[in-house]
């Protein structure tokens, strides 16, 4: 239905969300923002019921009246059931993963049922009405739904407006509500560009394609031990220390490859358009991160780094995403 009549839907949505776009979290679906209308099947049923009522009047069918009234009463009951499937639902939305222009941006939508009754057949749709996720919630349960949308533009992207709906229990009635959660996902520039990373040492590392340079690069020197993590390769675990009862430790190596790598906006040809320039820088930051390099990012509006941890690389990517946007999408 959403695809069939997008115009009035869009208008209703704009009206419904007129005050709070994007909304603070968590979002609770209160009575006033849950809309209820019959589905196409429901309208067809109503037409059938009217016909049946006319036939019953005409032929004086007492049981015909009874049947029409029974189904009509079920219809009314259905409205309440569907309505309460949504009312009181609590939703939280958080971004997850990384998004690049032209790719997919993902969020996790947590749906909490604080009531004791079941909330079945919950569906989440995007602005065009395409189904993103669906779930059934038992009483006092919650679920985590992954929502993916296309990321068309660089900057911050919110996952909205979304529609949460249900047509339980018989599919005659649809209750729905619109959401525009405030969960901005930064969309980084699409990483492409053929230029080599501006660091000679890196080039050789790249050629090897090693993914855990921080643990073991080539020609490394043993640098020390650190606390073990579940993701560490068993090859790097300090078994000797473990046997001595010192707990799970992981051996690390200092690599000459973790030297500075300066990603400079000015190093790129001046004729390069803005987005392509950002794409190239993004590709460099990603390679540097993959190689675990100490990176400095120099943009016209400031310099980040040097730094080598994940947070630094993410900050670099965020600067690229927001470059020229002033911070907000």
């Amino acid at each position: 239905m959403s695809t069939a009549r997008p115009r009035w839907r869009a208008r209703l949505r704009a009206w419904a969300l007129r005050r709070h776009t994007p909304e603070a979290q968590p979002i609770r679906l209160r009575q006033r923002r849950v809309y209820v209308l019959p589905t196409r099947a429901g309208v067809a049923l109503l037409v059938t019921l009217v016909t049946m009522l006319l036939a019953s009047i005409n032929y004086n069918l007492s049981l015909g009246y009874a049947l029409v009234f029974l189904l009509g009463s079920v219809f009314v009951t259905h409205i309440l059931h569907t309505w309460r499937t949504l009312v009181g639902l609590r939703l939280e939305c958080a971004r997850t993963g990384e998004a690049f222009v032209g790719g997919r941006a993902a969020w996790l939508l947590r749906v909490f049922n604080d009531a004791t009754h079941e909330r079945a057949g919950l569906r989440v749709r995007d602005a065009e009405g395409a189904l993103l996720a669906q779930t059934h919630l038992a009483g006092a349960a919650h679920a985590e739904l992954r929502i993916e949308l296309t990321a068309p533009r660089r900057g911050l992207q919110n996952p909205g407006p979304l529609t949460v709906e249900s047509t339980q229990p018989l599919g005659w009635i649809r209750a729905w509500s619109y959401l525009a959660p405030d969960a901005p996902q930064p969309v980084y520039p699409a990483p492409h560009g053929a230029r080599a990373l501006p660091s000679a040492v890196i080039a050789s590392t790249e050629a090897h394609g090693s993914t855990h340079t921080a643990l073991r690069g080539q020609g490394d020197d043993f640098a020390g031990l650190r606390t073990g993590q579940a993701t560490d390769s068993p090859r790097h675990i300090a078994w000797k220390q473990y046997a001595q009862g010192k707990g799970l430790l992981t051996k690390t190596w200092a690599s000459p490859a973790t030297s500075d790598c300066v990603l400079d906006w000015r190093a790129l040809p001046p004729a390069l358009p803005l987005e392509e320039r950002l794409s190239q820088l993004c590709a460099w930051v990603l390679s540097a991160r993959r190689a675990g390099l100490r990176t400095t990012l120099i943009l016209p509006d400031g310099t980040s780094g040097p730094g080598e941890d994940a947070a630094h690389h993410e900050a670099c990517l965020l600067r690229l995403a927001l470059y020229g946007h002033g911070g907000r999408p």
Binding site: S2, A44, N60, A66, L67, S73, G88, T167
Partner: protein, 651 residues
């Protein structure tokens, strides 16, 4: 409902559920369908079963069109029509399996379910008995359960049925309310197709040999009478139907009826008050006991003393009547009518006419001639049987002088011919005689098998006098009913035989139940509604009052439902309520308990901020914690103490 989930083919279980629902709603129709159409329907259902099993794709559209045309052709061949009630229903029974076979996704499934709803209404056109109501109830349950399955394919059959029955149970009060209070409109909104009542049985406005004996074979109920006091003895139970005075030598026919708004007789003698519930028979007569005065206005009194409804009786009707069997009627009969009641066609039944003329020559007074005719019938050694030999052109002659075996219609017909030949104005009256008292609810049940024909003779000073020539030959027919009058070799419907007391008891029980059902559920019409509302004490019985009452009732129901469905959290017990009260008191001092704080942690925090209250609150918190979480808490003893502590606690 965007395209994505609804266009997907149905899961197999849902397909089976849909097929079962459709079959359930089709079953009652299959027996009534012409054989070929029933076969086609069954074939389509079997095909659908195979389709669901194999998850086969839908058949090509041209094939479906061909099948639809074939079905329509069959319908036209067998029923000679595509419209009207019977043909329309037959077409619907074909349409449903066609749609089923053609269907693929959820939308088609919903269409099938709607057709099923329609079929159930169609079923009520045929019958509205208790078993039919039960079937339709099961059908409605199946339709709802299948809808639930369509909505949630992962639902188990049992869970779907549970959802459906819960919905039905919730909806039931509103349905009853609507049933009672929805303003009823009587009568058709549009003209019915001509064949709508072809199946009704009952007396016709003509009588020829065989027309009543056919009725006798039906155990169907013609009407019921509920007497305020004791019912009249069997001998006086003559229920008057059409009066036939036109005779062409073979067929007796009713004269065009003149009716008045008031009876043209003055009632006298014994009075019997009763309510008549007449089953639909598509004719206007109301089959009252002789001679009725109605206590309601919308009846007409025929000049032949029949009671008539202004319209053909197409639904069960109720009339409240008082009958006076001893009333003299027709004392001042119109001479034209009397002349007509003497007329015999030229040359028909010569032997009977001759016998009548002989009787007329011997008897001087009309009374003597009447007695002569009665004696003649008695002396003719006539036998009462349901299977009389076929008669030729001169029916009365052959019956009286040759075959001497006949049924009430032969007796009545021959007697009237004889009486007319003696010069007495006479006519045939058809109707019902007798009836059986149901000991359970006290109603007198009169069946088609009680159909009867008798004669009426006009005597100066006495008016029209009833003469039952059958009584002279088979008095048991009048006193004991048809089952006793017939020889045991004659075929009678099984249930009418009176030799099995168990069967008889069962039949009485069942009929008492159906009578209640008929009276209160099926016969619930505008007048019943007004009656009930008056009894309920509603100020008026107009539409406005009904709609107001309906609105009020619906609002109550809605409130009940909202209360039942209101999303509510865990219900708190007395202990929790007390604890929350203490917490609220502290919250007013800006010391609200944080959700993660245990009672002990909370008490420690409170002790830091309000050292003066520390001891009091620690006791409260400890008591609460030990009652809530401790082993074997002494609720009865400790709860009042806690209440006391909290009451005295003033932070």
């Amino acid at each position: 409902m965007s395209a994505s989930p609804s266009a997907a083919p149905l899961p197999r279980e849902t397909g089976y559920a849909l097929l079962a629902t459709a079959t359930l709603s089709l079953l009652p129709f299959l027996s009534g369908l012409p054989v070929l159409m029933a076969a086609l329907t069954a074939l389509l259902l079997a095909w659908q079963f195979w389709r669901v099993r194999q998850q086969a794709p839908r058949p090509p559209a041209p094939l479906m069109l061909l099948l639809a045309i074939l079905g329509a052709a069959l319908c036209y061949l067998e029923l000679r029509s595509l419209f009207g009630r019977e043909a329309g229903l037959a077409m619907l029974t074909l349409l449903l399996p066609l749609k089923l076979v053609e269907g693929r996704d959820r939308r088609d499934a919903h269409a099938v379910l709607l057709l099923c709803c329609f079929m159930m209404t169609g079923q009520f056109l045929n019958a509205q008995s208790l078993p039919v109501a039960a079937t339709v109830g099961v059908c409605a349950l199946a339709i709802l359960a299948t809808s639930a399955r369509l909505e949630r394919p992962d639902l188990s059959l049992r869970a779907a049925l549970r959802t459906a029955s819960r919905l039905l149970a919730t909806a039931l009060p509103l349905m009853l309310l609507l049933f009672v209070l929805f303003p009823r409109i009587d009568g058709p909104l549009w003209r019915m197709p001509g064949d709508a009542f072809a199946a009704s049985t009952g007396l016709g406005d003509t009588m020829q040999p065989g027309s009543i004996s056919q009725l006798i074979l039906s155990g169907e109920i013609a009407f019921r009478a509920e007497f305020a006091g004791a019912p009249p003895p069997p001998r006086e139970r003559y229920w008057r139907g059409p009066v036939l005075s036109d005779f062409d030598g073979r067929v007796w026919q009713e004269r065009p009826a003149f009716t008045d708004a008031t009876p043209n007789y003055r009632p006298s003698g014994n009075a019997y008050a009763y309510t008549l519930t007449v089953e639909a028979h598509d004719r206007p007569w109301l089959l009252a006991l002789d001679f009725p005065i109605a206590t309601q206005e919308d009846v007409r009194y025929g000049r032949d003393f029949t009671l008539r409804s202004p319209r053909p009786v197409r639904t069960r009707v109720r009339v409240a009547l008082v009958s006076y069997p001893d009333t003299r009627v027709g004392l001042t009969e119109n001479p034209g009518r009397l002349a007509h009641a003497l007329w015999l066609p030229e040359g028909s039944n010569p032997r009977t006419v001759a016998a009548g003329q002989q009787l007329a020559a011997r008897g001087a007074t009309p009374d003597e001639r009447l007695q002569g005719a009665i004696d003649f019938m008695r002396d003719a050694r006539l036998t009462y049987t349901l299977n009389p030999p076929l008669l030729g052109t001169h029916g009365a002659d052959e019956f009286l002088f040759d075959t001497r075996q006949g049924f009430c219609e032969h007796f009545a017909s021959a007697f009237v011919v004889l009486a007319r030949a003696t010069g007495l104005p006479a006519r045939v009256v058809t109707g019902y005689q007798g009836g059986e008292l149901n000991p359970l609810d006290g109603t007198l049940v009169v069946r088609q098998s009680d159909a009867h024909a008798w004669a009426e003779v006009w005597l100066a000073g006495r008016g029209w006098v009833r003469v039952d020539p059958t009584a002279t030959s088979a008095p048991a027919r009048i006193d004991g009913g048809i089952a006793q009058a017939l020889p045991a070799t004659d075929a009678l419907p099984f249930l009418l035989r009176s030799d099995s007391p168990v069967l008889r008891e069962l039949r009485h029980r069942w009929e008492a139940l159906s009578n209640g059902w008929n009276q209160w559920v099926l016969g619930y019409n505008a007048s019943r509604q007004a009656e009930l509302l008056k009894q309920l004490g509603l100020p008026g019985t107009g539409w406005r009052e009904m709609i107001l009452a309906l609105g009020a009732g619906a609002a109550l129901w809605l409130a009940w439902l909202m209360w039942r469905l209101a999303p509510r959290g865990r219900r708190r017990d007395a202990l929790d309520r007390l604890w929350l009260r203490a917490c609220r008191k502290l919250a007013r001092r800006n010391l609200a308990r944080q959700p993660w704080e245990t009672p002990a942690a909370y008490a420690a925090r409170v002790a830091l901020r309000l050292p003066g209250q520390a001891a009091a609150f620690r006791e409260i918190a400890e008591t609460y914690a030990s009652l809530r979480y401790g082993p074997a808490p002494d609720m009865a003893g400790q709860l009042p103490r806690l209440r006391d502590l909290i009451q005295r606690f003033r932070p």
